[in-house]
């Protein structure tokens, strides 16, 4: 059983100090003590350890307010590099970040020709990771780890992909494959979970203890942040809300049921709407977004259609979770207010809580980088633990 002792006390306080430096840098020891409530001497001792671990740096002095000048502390961005992978259905995005989550290199490869074998795709992934590593800068610790966001069902603890239907993957031990190849720690998580963590650490969710990240792309999934941490549920399947019933006898879904949310609010729904309304061209989602922004009528109405139904599902989730904030991510929100206005209108109308206060609904701040940055944050969070707002 998880009992408490002094080791735990120190761990907690050290994480609090590190997170405080992370969030408020540059900051002095005295300010940390004031902000956290920890004693000055405690802060000094913990900061000393962080300095010898090279996670933190002293960077000059701040302005004096009538006394000794404070010593500015900041995190050591260059202590190591992290690789974050967004494993898309028809692309792979690889980013290299420093320890502050700042992107220092990135490359996206498109896989337009559907690969038949999982083996080929994994080979592509490995080649891309190799190239990313070769572009790393010189740091104290080198590559700290690799995080991978996957569109499918994942066993997070074991780094196992149970099922990724859009990739045609079943039971792939991705973590051990990549760990063996590159010899650094690897973390695998669901694409929506990675997006949520990305927004929590570096995006629109920084200051929210409780929020939902809705990944609206090929399908729909949710990453749930509760109490500043990702909530995975009892078996890691929390947030699999693509097949939430919103219309009892509605559109038939590939899952065998009818009226699944995904059939009304994903790229699938968008393209279906487009086809039903004259447009027969073979377009990518980015084409439709560009057209909508350029003012094309059918494209705009398609986004309004999808936005409305997104709003309905979002309202359902707000009623269930009562979050501070909902962040809409992945491809669809790239259409901007064309989608978001309709979404907000419908969500507000159907949201029980909106009688008492309004819930903020924002588009992703990290846009197409959300998943990859979140994957990198998976690695960082191992050292930082969970950020406290």
């Amino acid at each position: 059983m998880k009992t408490a002792d002094q080791v735990l006390v120190k761990q907690i306080n050290k994480m609090i100090v590190l997170n405080t430096i992370y969030k408020k840098r540059p900051i002095s020891r005295a300010e940390i003590a004031k902000f956290t409530g920890l004693n000055k001497s405690t802060v000094s001792a913990l900061v000393d350890e962080l300095l010898t671990e090279e996670l933190v740096l002293e960077m000059g002095t701040g302005e004096s307010q009538g006394g000794r000048k404070p010593v500015n502390l900041s995190i050591n961005k260059e202590v190591g590099n992290i690789i974050g992978i967004d494993l898309g259905v028809n692309y792979i995005l690889s980013i290299m970040t420093n320890f502050a989550g700042e992107i220092i290199w990135e490359k996206r490869i498109d896989l337009l020709h559907t690969h038949t074998s999982p083996g080929q795709r994994i080979a592509d992934l490995q080649t891309l990771i190799q190239e990313t590593i070769e572009n790393a800068s010189q740091t104290v610790r080198g590559i700290i780890g690799i995080g991978i966001g996957v569109p499918g069902i994942v066993n997070y603890e074991q780094g196992l992909i149970l099922s990724a239907p859009n990739l045609g993957w079943e039971n792939i031990e991705l973590r051990s494959i990549i760990e063996q190849k590159f010899g650094v720690p690897v973390f695998i998580d669901n694409e929506a979970n990675a997006g949520a963590i990305g927004e929590k650490w570096f995006g629109a969710g920084k200051r929210a203890d409780e929020f939902l990240y809705i990944s609206a792309g090929t399908g729909i999934g949710a990453g749930i942040i509760i109490n500043n941490e990702l909530y995975r549920g009892s078996r890691g399947l929390a947030g699999e809300i693509g097949h939430m019933t919103v219309s009892l006898d509605g559109v038939p879904c590939s899952c065998g049921n009818t009226g699944c949310w995904e059939e009304y609010s994903s790229e699938k729904a968008l393209f279906r709407y487009m086809k039903e309304h004259i447009c027969v061209e073979d377009l990518t989602i980015f084409n439709v977004i560009d057209n909508a922004i350029a003012g094309d009528d059918v494209s705009r109405r398609a986004f309004e259609y999808v936005g409305k139904y997104l709003g309905i599902g979002v309202a359902n989730l707000i009623n269930a979770f009562n979050p501070q904030l909902v962040i809409i991510g992945n491809s669809l929100p790239l259409a901007g207010d064309i989608l978001m206005d309709e979404l907000r209108k419908e969500a507000e109308k159907r949201c029980f809580a909106s009688k008492y206060f309004s819930v903020k609904i924002l588009p992703s701040q990290l846009n197409i980088h959300a998943c990859a940055i979140g994957a990198a944050a998976l690695v960082i969070s191992r050292l930082y633990a969970s950020p406290v707002s």
Copy 2:
């Protein structure tokens, strides 16, 4: 900020010891040490404190397995009494429990004639609490506190009822009213939250870290247990899922929208179905349940109808929360398998996770007492903290 120190360490470990005694009584110091991983001397010291606080008792010795006999420890059930109130729409149920959550006295008063004023109902409540107190047994600490479960929106921290439309209440400071009258600590929570806590402490949810308690009665609400604790959301409105959209252009709801779950799965829906199918009698929910169990055809089909739609919403919630367990409480599950069979069938069909493993869906173990026992558990949990499974 919530930093860690030795006080925290002790609190945590003391709660672990108390909870272990609570769950495994009778148990010896040595067994506690083995089970928790705490050192023998630590356990002894903490048990000593619990003994002087009279929360725990030494009760004889256990069997020796070739050595000194262990001293059995148990909680002191008689340390004090707790009052739990289920404030129904047309009844008030008051129970008196001992410190082990065992009901030692109870009384239910029915309020068939609708009260016009909140004042009258509060007077009735106070009279009933007074009568309950008069029936308390002699204990060390007397009445430890009063817990109240309310069908409405509650501010838990302030003990404020924001809105209980079915009672005609708005902004009632129930905690301070009752605290001033009786001079003991009072805890107010939503009826579904209370039910969830009741099932967690004393019912079907004892061994589950994550579960949902669905209160299906006049309306529908959910109590959400995450990580052994009640999840209230950012503003205390989590679980307000009665107005989840399940049918885009479905039945109009009093809330102004269409297709709300509550319109398909509550007593409201049951009675609507009954009226639509010949039955014009003026029946209570208990009449319909009795008739269904006795084999009345319309009543049975009414429960099957409601069960199906309950299952759809339950599947939605399972997809979102991925709990270990779902408990169905309040009045409807009193119909037993007539309701539950249909519910389970539909939930399984629409539940994404059921492809990977099945989620248990059980009727409440505390039945009509769930809310009142949960209200009492609100008080107990202040001393025990959250139980660890």
